[in-house]
């Protein structure tokens, strides 16, 4: 609309804003006129199909709030938002089949049932054709090494195993867009590595668009060609990772971003 781009973005946000009504015991740094708190403050974002974008920023910057608007969980206070052609909050149920979501701190799996049972239920809920489901399950079982615990109740799995199960659960229906909110949080080095390699492969093999939130520099370095940084609900950097680390090492630059220094003014 405003800018010309070779492909239509699969995620498009213009002036995306979320203000929470005032609630006791929260930070009150940014106040809106009605006494609320603006967690996301006028974000512009265009993500093309097939991009793998690292979405970074300090705790409380507004990353999870953005993702919750992109999935339709939260209704934006203002701004325009389109994901895969849908308006997330309004078309939430239909959009749900086009997206996959992984929350690092939560599990979508059924605690008391074998991992496999969660997958077969998801097949029904997402109406995945049986042959497609079989192929995908076989692929993810091999790629994420699920074989040895597929028949074990989820409550008995280690964090790393459960996360691999959750990632599979988010992908079985071949979503066009995947959001991962801190998927590597709390994982050991080996599991982190496995998840990283897997995501990179997923993006390259299927062209799935991935938006990844992480505090791990190595995740960003290994995976993301593009980085969007936010702080206090505003975009402080949006560009390629190579530009970001052009003259200094990535860790220093990211630390500066986290300290609230804006490297590039993208809002113009």
């Amino acid at each position: 609309m405003t800018t010309t781009s070779t492909t239509d973005p699969i995620i498009l946000a213009e002036g995306l804003t979320k203000a929470f009504g005032s609630s006791p015991g929260r930070f009150r740094r940014r106040r809106t006129t009605d006494g609320g708190f603006t967690a996301v403050d006028g974000i512009d974002l265009r993500i093309a199909p097939g991009e793998l974008v690292g979405y970074i920023g300090p705790n409380g910057a507004g990353k999870s709030t953005t993702i919750k608007m992109l999935t339709g969980i939260l209704t934006p206070t203002s701004g325009l938002l389109r994901v895969a052609g849908f308006e997330p909050q309004r078309d939430r149920v239909r959009l749900a089949r086009r997206i996959g979501v992984v929350f690092g701190q939560r599990t979508t799996l059924w605690w008391d049932l074998p991992l496999k049972d969660s997958f077969t239920l998801l097949q029904r809920l997402y109406r995945i054709p049986p042959d497609r489901f079989g192929e995908n399950l076989a692929y993810y079982t091999a790629a994420l090494d699920l074989g040895e615990f597929l028949d074990r109740p989820v409550r008995q799995l280690s964090l790393g195993q459960r996360m691999r199960g959750d990632i599979t659960a988010a992908l079985l229906h071949d979503p066009a867009v995947v959001y991962l909110d801190e998927p590597t949080i709390g994982l050991d080095v080996v599991s982190k590595h496995a998840v990283r390699e897997f995501l990179s492969d997923l993006n390259q093999r299927t062209g799935t668009t991935i938006l990844l939130t992480t505090h791990d520099i190595a995740d960003i370095e290994r995976l993301c060609s593009r980085v969007v940084a936010i702080d206090h609900g505003r975009v402080t950097y949006d560009g390629s990772i190579d530009d970001l680390r052009a003259d200094r090492d990535l860790e220093t630059v990211v630390r500066e971003l986290y300290l609230g220094r804006s490297l590039v003014d993208t809002t113009e």
């Binding site: 939260l74 209704t75 059924w110 049932l113 239920l121």
Partner: protein, 278 residues
């Protein structure tokens, strides 16, 4: 046969189908703990019989209460209880909503491509909820057998309609109480006294509350429609409050109106859902 359906299979799974799928998986999860399940089911059975015993004890001292005989009272009790027990079995997953919201797990409900209501109603479904059905079924069976009534097709239809409308009405109330947990996550206690409280109110003949309260219950709380009005027709009992005849058959309308309200309220709650900071 030739498959001529060109409809793109883009539609979400139908709510009731999703509900049944989820009920099945929750039941399977519950059956992992077999002993505890058996014990709680038995306990459930006994506690639901306690009210019944109280009614029998009262009637061992008096012949009628507010002009109603024992079988008539048991009929009122049985229909209300049955409607409530079925709604309880179907919809009390709503009770977990406050916890889901507080822990942020309701987010996960909203990322699935099926009705959020179906997911919430089915939440933590356990077979023990069926234990609550035994007492009302037995009571109603006994009351119908003991009532000196000449059953007509119309009366039978109204009797069945009473239970169905009551059940729908209670489900709508469950959903509305769920909406309360969106507004105030800690208000679940209040919400419970609302559903359970109104159930106790219609269980006994309304006339023992006196006219003002009876009228209030009829109009302020649509719950009175559940058994009272249609049951007056079935029992061939004049209305002690002298309300117009057509109200005997207004239950379906009341159930429909309240269901509509509940559906609207639920939508509004989803739209204004705030999630939690993580």
């Amino acid at each position: 046969m030739a498959d001529t359906t060109t409809e793109p299979d883009d539609r979400p799974l139908w709510g009731p189908t999703a509900y049944l799928l989820l009920v099945r998986i929750w039941m399977r999860a519950a059956s992992q703990y077999r002993v505890s399940l058996l014990l709680t089911t038995v306990a459930q059975l006994f506690t639901t019989c306690l009210d019944l015993i109280a009614i029998l004890v009262i009637y061992s001292h008096v012949r009628t209460i507010g002009g109603f005989t024992l079988p008539e009272t048991l009929y009122l009790y049985g229909t209300t209880r049955l409607a409530f027990a079925v709604s309880d079995a179907l919809a009390s997953g709503v009770e977990n909503l406050a916890t889901m919201i507080r822990l942020g797990n309701f987010d996960l409900v909203l990322i699935r491509p099926v009705s959020s209501l179906a997911q919430v109603l089915a939440d933590q479904f356990t077979p023990k909820r069926f234990g609550k059905l035994a007492a009302p079924v037995l009571t109603l069976g006994w009351a119908i057998d003991a009532l000196p009534l000449h059953w007509t097709a119309a009366k039978a239809a109204v009797a069945i309609g009473t239970v169905v409308c009551g059940l729908v009405l209670y489900c709508a109330l469950w959903v509305l109480t769920g909406c309360i947990s969106f507004i105030a996550v800690d208000a679940q206690e209040v919400a419970n006294s609302f559903t359970y409280g109104s159930e106790n109110a219609t269980e006994y003949p309304l006339s023992i509350f006196g006219r003002p309260l009876g009228l209030a219950l009829t109009f302020v709380l649509p719950v009175a429609f559940v058994t009272w009005q249609p049951s007056l027709y079935v029992l061939g009992h004049p209305d002690p409050f002298g309300l117009p005849e057509f109200l005997r058959f207004a239950s379906p309308a009341a159930a429909a109106v309240l269901s509509g309200l509940a559906a609207l309220a639920w939508r509004a709650c989803i739209r204004h859902y705030r999630s939690t900071g993580s």
